[in-house]
Amino acid sequence: MCRERQQGRIAILLKLMASYRELLQQVRSEIEEISATEARALGDGALLLDVREREEWDEGHLPGATHVPRGSLESRIELVTRDRSASLVVYCAAGNRSAFAAKTLEELGYTDVRSLAGGFTDWKRNGFPVAVSQTLEPSQRGRYSRHLLIPEVGEEGQLKLLDSRILLIGAGGLGSPASLYLAAAGVGRLGIVDEDVVDASNLQRQIVHSTESLGKPKVASAKAALEALNPDVTVVPYEERLTSETIERILADGWDVIVDGSDNFPTRYLVNDASVWHGIPVVHGSIYRFEGQATVFKPNEGPCYRCLFPKPPPPELAPSCAEGGVLGVLPGIIGSLQANEALKLALGIGDPLVGRLLLFDALEARFTEVTLRRDPECPVCGEEPTITEYVDYVEFCANPRSPVA
């Protein structure tokens, strides 16, 4: 008797619990669906979310789609968009998982969500374009695992870094830590411009070189160290002085970001003018004794070096590092800040130091920030530029009081 009653209760419970089919049907009736043809017609008008598993995504996905596996949809959707009114099209393989995902997104407050009926399968059957993403190799997943764990970087960001090309001006105090961190981070291509050889007096701070590189070209020494640190990185050495003649050829090799760690004014102004004309952001750093500064000059978005300092100081008022000295760790701090900014620019994340100059005092252990603004009268990036081609930078810096080009 008792047993019969128990069985009866189970039967009622089973009746109350919907089957997967029933639940799916119910959810599909509560959400909006869109056909492959309609989805394609939307073009860039909607954000495409692929909620399938990684292996499925790797084999092919809708061009321009963002991969957010169903399992982490709730926690990661805000990283994709916080805009609750954004137009979203969710898809999976056949339109079932995406129906549940669409329902979840609606529960999270997203108001314009559609599920792609028939999913990726139907999309392919229509002969619509499919993108196959690059993926990291297993060894790279291990090497970059601490990047992969950060949502703002992740696999997509790491692939971006591996595709990035960053040019370092100087393999000295600033270039050493900057290049080491950029190489370790997996920036795929690092160009280094430096005409010097490694000198004993460099080793107190230029940590990319070592005692056994004494007398060798800095670019060769740096290339060996960086490629040993990370074989994913190709170092392009330019063992030459940067001049108005050489810079065009070097920039023609294609660089996304320039890290300026040069040690003289002619090079600073030359790099600035070239970067404005080529539209390449420059991560600027400079150091003296216990103090350093860093900023980002991003053409069209913020000021350039000439907005900051229209003219260089006369040589007698501008002691070089060689005369002034520098605490060994200081370029480590400023060069690392430059690497940080370069990585942010390459990844397209965060607030770069555009329009802000960060000053660091090692003795006080204090950072100060001042505002930099574009100068509408800047001779290079202003409204009516008066310098539109390379000038004689050595002459310009030797005679700062003379009229400029």
């Binding site: 100087g170 000295g172 105090g173 600033l174 270039g175 460099n202 230029q206 300026d260 760690g261 040069s262 040690d263 003289n264 004014f265 090079t267 600073r268 750093g285 400079s286 150091i287 003296y288 004794r289 216990f290 103090e291 500064q293 900051l308 300092f309 229209p310 003219k311 260089p312 100081p313 006369p314 008022l317 501008a318 002691p319 070089s320 590092c321 060689a322 002034g324 520098v326 370029p331 100059l357 000053l359 003795l363 100060t368 920030e369 001042v370 505002t371 930099l372 603004r373 100068d375 700062p400 009081r401």
Partner: protein, 88 residues
């Protein structure tokens, strides 16, 4: 009195002082006061009667060139910042 931050490249002119106090309601008055006490600063700060193009003067974090130049009222701490090129 306003605290003026002296950058390392100008400290020879201020007997090694990293910060000095100066008086003045405008940047012009404040710099005049500085230069009177530290005459060697003159050629480091001025060119043709204006702030030299290779040095920036910040008042409360803003470049006086983007404000009212030498007539900018001194509303906060002052930082003198000449161009530095060192990277090696």
């Amino acid at each position: 009195m306003t605290v003026v931050r002296i950058p390392p490249t100008l400290r020879a002119a201020t007997r090694g002082e990293r910060e000095v106090e100066a008086a003045g309601g405008t940047v012009r008055e404040l710099l005049d006061d500085l230069v009177t006490r530290f005459p060697e600063l003159h050629e480091q700060l001025y060119e043709e009667g204006d702030v030299a193009p290779f040095v920036n003067v910040y008042v409360a974090g803003e470049d006086v060139r983007t404000l009212e130049g030498l007539d900018t009222p001194v509303t906060g701490g002052v930082i003198l910042l000449p161009a530095m090129a060192g990277g090696v």
